[in-house]
């Protein structure tokens, strides 16, 4: 069990974080640079003292402003892996790993180092120096070192972001395997949404020093609680609208010049809402098939720009008759993402006139 509720003011920045994580879970703290992720970790590790609040790991109170408890880092029993790793460059791999075990007899140290080296797949590298290892190997040493003193909580601060993509994928998988063995809460900090989604049992979205939402990654992706979360998780289409109709079957929302059908929800007629639609959930239809009754919220239009990173294509769709966007400076209404192979199969390079269907279950409303 891991519990944190702290406030910290530093200059014009205020950190206000509340989180709990059950044992044996990975909680991912996800947010943009400067959101307060690293400061949160620094507070948990004891490098900075919060102004007020409480930090509890297991049964141990690390910080409690009411009871004037503020344990030094030495007594917090926390393992940390940072992006820059902070391996001791003058010590070998084994000496790095046993660094925190100096109170134990030499044999016990060596045994533990051997066990951990096996666990992180570094057998045979005990006598190397950090500079003689690859980035991924250094990463594993840092992890083994953090685990050596048997911490009650493991903090991982963007540990994989300096690595190449294949190594990163592999280490993520290894971390999940490791997680099953060590059975302590892990707090993982990242600004990479894919990484957050992959690793998180619980996902906490942080921005400007505040936790905006905590939930399972799937739930956050489907139902972001607010605009900050929606933007952070890559909802490219956020359109302002107004609820104009409501009955058992659902609501009707006017967006620009269009009325959209949406699922029943909490909003009353007249409410201002933000209509969120993930770009990969916009369905392309051949223009002549748009009128079929099974299609929801269809719009005719054309693709006016596109971009691609080689795997995914982003299309900018402009509605022909009724515009969705009230923003006159924007020449498109919707961003659509699809894999490049589909882009090619549909011959999107030449075929520019399309209809789209905005399915009800793809539309999420946030109060405005």
């Amino acid at each position: 069990m891991f519990e944190i509720a702290i406030r910290k003011r530093l200059g014009g920045f205020t950190l206000n974080v509340e989180l709990t994580a059950p044992e044996n879970q990975i909680i991912v703290l996800f947010g943009p640079s400067g959101a307060g992720k690293s400061m949160t970790l620094a507070a948990i590790a004891g490098f900075v003292s919060p102004d007020a609040g409480r930090i509890v790991v297991g049964t141990q109170v690390l910080f409690d402003s009411d009871r004037q408890i503020d344990l030094p880092p030495q007594r917090r029993r926390i393992g940390l892996v940072k992006q820059d790793l902070a391996l001791f460059p003058h010590l070998t791999v084994e000496q790095n790993i046993t660094y925190g075990l100096f109170r134990e007899p030499a044999e016990a140290q060596q045994e533990r180092a051997q066990l951990l080296l096996r666990r992180v797949n570094l057998d045979g590298l005990a006598l190397r120096y950090p500079a003689q290892l690859s980035g991924g190997q250094q990463q594993r040493v840092a992890l083994a070192r953090a685990l050596a003193p048997k911490p009650e909580l493991l903090l991982l601060d963007e540990p994989f972001s300096a690595l190449d993509a294949p190594t990163r994928m592999q280490l993520r998988n290894e971390l999940l395997n490791l997680q099953r063995q060590i059975r302590i809460p892990i707090m993982f900090v990242t600004h990479d949404l894919g990484e957050a989604y992959f690793l998180a049992d619980r996902l906490a979205v942080i921005d400007q020093g505040k936790i905006l939402q905590v939930d399972t990654p799937g739930e956050i992706l489907r139902h972001p609680c607010c605009l900050g979360v929606a933007r952070a998780i890559g909802v490219k289409n956020i359109l302002s609208g107004e609820v104009v109709g409501r009955d058992q079957a659902g609501c009707r929302v006017r967006v620009g010049e269009v009325i959209l059908d949406v699922l029943p929800g909490e909003f009353d007629i007249g409410a201002q809402v933000n209509v969120c639609l993930r770009p990969e959930r916009v369905m392309l239809l051949r223009p002549e098939r748009a009128d079929r009754s099974s299609n929801e919220n269809t719009l005719q239009g054309e693709i006016i720009h596109e971009m691609s990173d080689g795997m995914m294509a982003t299309l900018f769709f402009r509605a022909a008759e009724a515009r969705l966007s009230a923003d006159a400076t924007r020449d498109y209404d919707l961003q659509i993402e699809l894999p490049v192979y589909i882009y090619e199969r549909l011959d999107l390079a030449h075929q520019r006139r399309w209809a789209v269907s905005l399915r009800k279950n793809a539309i999420h409303l946030i109060g405005g």
Binding site: P73, Q74, R75, G79, D84, A86, H90, G100, P149
Partner: protein
């Protein structure tokens, strides 16, 4: 007639005006720096025993090695914690403390000597107090050490401070999180990583102390075997025993070279005052 392949360039094709200016300047400077050194070594040989083997030469050598080592030792013992503190802590008036510590490096040594005399001399600020408890500092070997330490210690503090700053704070934090006390962290992480800078600084301090002249002669005087260090003996020897002065000079030239070589060896980037 000579033929060359098209495109191949001979050495003078590389010469430009800028290069000529550069080469000229380097030549002048090297000539100016090297010629006196060559001259002093050339004049000291052939080996003349009355220069190398007389008592005053030996006394000066022994006294210099002794006092410079003590001075460097004092600089290390007191300077290391000061340097660490200055490297890690922020406090009001830090710039003033930094400047005060650096001051002796630019202060003329004669002024330093006079200042020491005014502070610790018989009629100095602390003179009567020291006399009362039976301590007479001026014109003793202790005074030599004080003069050398005053002038040379800042070299160590600056180098050590730069060395400590170069040790990532994140390493010390990591050590703390691994359960290791601050003192043990200092010994196991900070000190080993700063060691080349500390060693380089100590060598430079030792060399500076070895060459100290102005402050020593003002504060400690010039008595053979007690306060007459090598630079003082060289100065005196100019009138009485030129061979002895030359011999001591050659020793100091060799030692200086050795120190710079050693400093380069321990830190690839060489000595920095930063």
């Amino acid at each position: 007639m000579f033929k060359r392949k098209p495109g191949a360039r001979t050495w003078f094709h590389h010469l430009s005006v800028g290069r000529l200016v550069f080469l000229g300047a380097v030549s002048v400077l090297l000539f100016f720096l090297v010629l006196p050194l060559v001259a002093v070594v050339w004049r000291a040989f052939p080996f003349r025993s009355e220069g190398w083997l007389n008592a005053s030469t030996f006394d000066a050598l022994r006294l210099s090695l002794f006092t410079a080592t003590i001075s460097a030792g004092i600089a290390i013992v007191i300077g290391t914690p000061v340097a660490y503190f200055l490297a890690r802590e922020k406090f009001g008036g830090k710039a003033i403390v930094d400047t005060l510590i650096d001051l002796p490096m630019v202060l003329p040594p004669a002024v330093a000597g006079l200042a020491l005399l005014m502070a610790f001399g018989r009629r100095g600020l602390l003179g009567p107090t020291l006399s009362a408890i039976g301590i007479e500092l001026p014109f003793t070997t202790a005074a030599v050490v004080m003069a050398q330490t005053f002038v040379a210690a800042p070299f160590y503090v600056r180098a050590a401070k730069a060395g400590f700053i170069s040790v990532d704070l994140g390493l010390e934090q990591m050590s703390a999180l691994l359960g290791v006390s601050n003192l043990r962290t200092f010994v196991r992480v900070t000190l080993p990583l700063a060691a080349p800078a500390l060693f380089g600084g100590a060598l430079m301090t030792w060399a500076r102390a070895l060459g100290e002249f102005g402050a020593t002669i003002m504060f400690a005087g010039n008595s053979q075997g007690r306060t007459q260090t090598m630079p003082l003996a060289i100065y005196l020897g100019l009138e009485s025993n030129l061979d002895s002065a030359l011999a001591l000079s050659v020793i100091l030239v060799v030692v200086s070279f050795g120190i710079l070589a050693a400093v380069r060896l321990v830190s690839p980037k060489g000595f920095t005052l930063g």
